[in-house]
Amino acid sequence: MLTINNVEVMYDKVILVLKGMSMVVPKGKIVALLGSNGAGKTTTLKAISGLLKSENGEVTDGFIELYGERIDVNDAETIVKKGIFQCMEGRRVFKHLSVEDNLIAGAHTRKDRKNIKSDIQKVYHYFPKLEMLKHRQAGYLSGGEQQMLAIGRGIMAKPKVLLLDEPSLGLAPLLVKEIFSIIKKINKEEGTTILVVEQNANVALSIADYGYIMENGRIVMDGTVDRLLSNQDVREFYLGMGDKGRKSYKDIKSYKRRKRWL
């Protein structure tokens, strides 16, 4: 349903960040986009959601389509109305608004205002902790609670595609697990298509149906999760596993495998 075809993105008309990026996100699936820092993952998401324009970036080549309709020419509000919602990196909750007001802000583009109350209850059902904190100022929530709130805002918008940018950022491993299992649950119960960008390849692949690996502004490898997990390079560079299971740090200096896809 969401197709990105040979997209080039330039910032400030000089810095070329995406160099012919292509990927497909099929309906109802969870797709993981993996890659190291600076690979262009966040830029890809911002190109989809239209937030690039607020950062002096633009799509200079290629196109992005939702259900066969071009969206890369639209601005951010229109894209949200068409059903793509991005949970930005670093949570970005509205600090001075209460938890409940944050959720209402998430539903800003919804036309069916009367269902909002019941949808807030639905968010509390996924994240029971938020219900206890509903009158608290969002700025005083813990990192994990803020991440829940950020995803909750995404649920409130009832998007067709939910873009999650590094939901694991800065969270304890246990909390990361909890949040990802809820993401999976949202995908199953709401039927929301999810594109998740992650550095933590392990946890992202544990819930995804399909994965893309990105380096230097383009996709270098893609495949079903099983295929990625059995690939030598992925195991070594993204999962930290050598040929014989987990690798010890003391061997790393003496031997560095060359990535075969380069």
């Binding site: 951010a76 509000e77 949200v80 970005r92 001075h96 583009t109 005083y140 918008a157």
Partner: protein, 294 residues
């Protein structure tokens, strides 16, 4: 004692009008981080439009007030669209400079259309003073207070509960995140300017009824800036309390100190208080503190 109470009541009424106009500053500052130096001219234009409708076209006061408010809203929208929209994404200081330019232009236009002699509103409220215990108040003061309170309540509810109000607060918090919610930031700016123009016009019309209308009314815009800063530039309750404080202190200074020094101290007092309070509370009384989690 009666004199003191009389001064305090006058101060409350004038202060509440200041609070209303300060709300305009706060709104624009909250949504776009800019200070609108053309606030005083907004006030002047709204007042003159209302006055002209009443005196030249014999339209009843309430209808004229509503038309003037609508006119102000449109004026706010148009000015945001033409003058300030190009400054989105540019440094805030350029936007502030643009409002200073705007204020000169608007002041010039007002001068061309309406001249500079003082005009008075026809008597709208009854002249018979109201006795509250020992103090005597003109009905126009009571009406002003009532109108301001009603407007402040409406705006408080609007920001707390309405979809647009929540979106405006969200935009003030984090513009990019607001955009990612599908909130149109341009729309929010336009609404902020429209509301700022409306509250200024109401403030101007009320003060015009009390003191008469001439170009110096726009100086209220400057006088209200300390009110907004005192309350904390981004706090709506702060603007209300700041308005009352400045209003009362100004009135007391006018009553007690001006006769001793020969007048004029009243005009300076708001700024003296401002400097004094900012020495201790640099963000103003209720300014938003950055929330930092440790």
């Amino acid at each position: 004692m009666t004199f003191l109470l009389q001064m305090i009541v006058t101060g409350i009424v004038v202060g509440s009008v200041y609070a209303l106009v300060a709300l305009g500053f706060v709104l624009i500052y909250k949504s776009s981080d800019a200070i609108n130096f053309a606030q005083g001219e907004f006030l002047l234009i709204g007042t003159y439009v209302c006055l002209t409708l009443i005196t030249a076209y014999n339209i009843p006061f309430v209808a004229a007030l509503l038309i003037a408010l609508m006119f102000s809203a449109v004026l706010g929208f148009v000015i945001e669209r033409i003058v300030l929209r190009p400054f989105i994404g540019e440094p805030v200081i350029s936007m502030i400079m643009a409002t200073i330019g705007l204020s000169s232009v608007l002041a010039g236009i007002v001068h061309i259309i309406w001249g500079h002699e003082t005009r008075v509103f026809p008597k709208i409220f009854s002249e018979k003073p109201v006795n509250l215990g020992e103090i005597v108040i003109a009905p126009v003061y009571l009406w002003s207070l009532l109108i301001v309170v009603v407007m402040l309540v409406i705006f408080t509810l609007f920001f707390k509960y309405s979809k647009l109000g929540i979106a405006m607060r969200a935009t003030a918090d984090d513009q990019q995140a607001a955009m990612s919610m599908g909130i149109s930031v341009k729309m929010i700016f336009a609404v902020a300017w429209a509301i700022a123009a409306i509250v200024s016009a109401v403030g101007g019309i009320l003060l015009g009824n009390i003191n008469g209308v001439n170009a110096s009314l726009s100086a209220i815009g400057l006088k209200v800036l300390p009110v907004a800063i005192l309350g904390g530039l981004d706090s709506i309750p702060g603007a209300i309390i700041g308005g009352l404080i400045i209003g009362i202190l100004e009135s007391l200074t006018g009553g007690y100190l001006d006769p001793l020094v020969g007048g004029g101290l009243k005009e300076v007092m708001p700024f003296v208080i401002l400097v004094f309070i900012l020495m201790f509370k640099p963000y103003g009384l209720f300014g938003k503190k950055e929330i930092e989690r440790v």
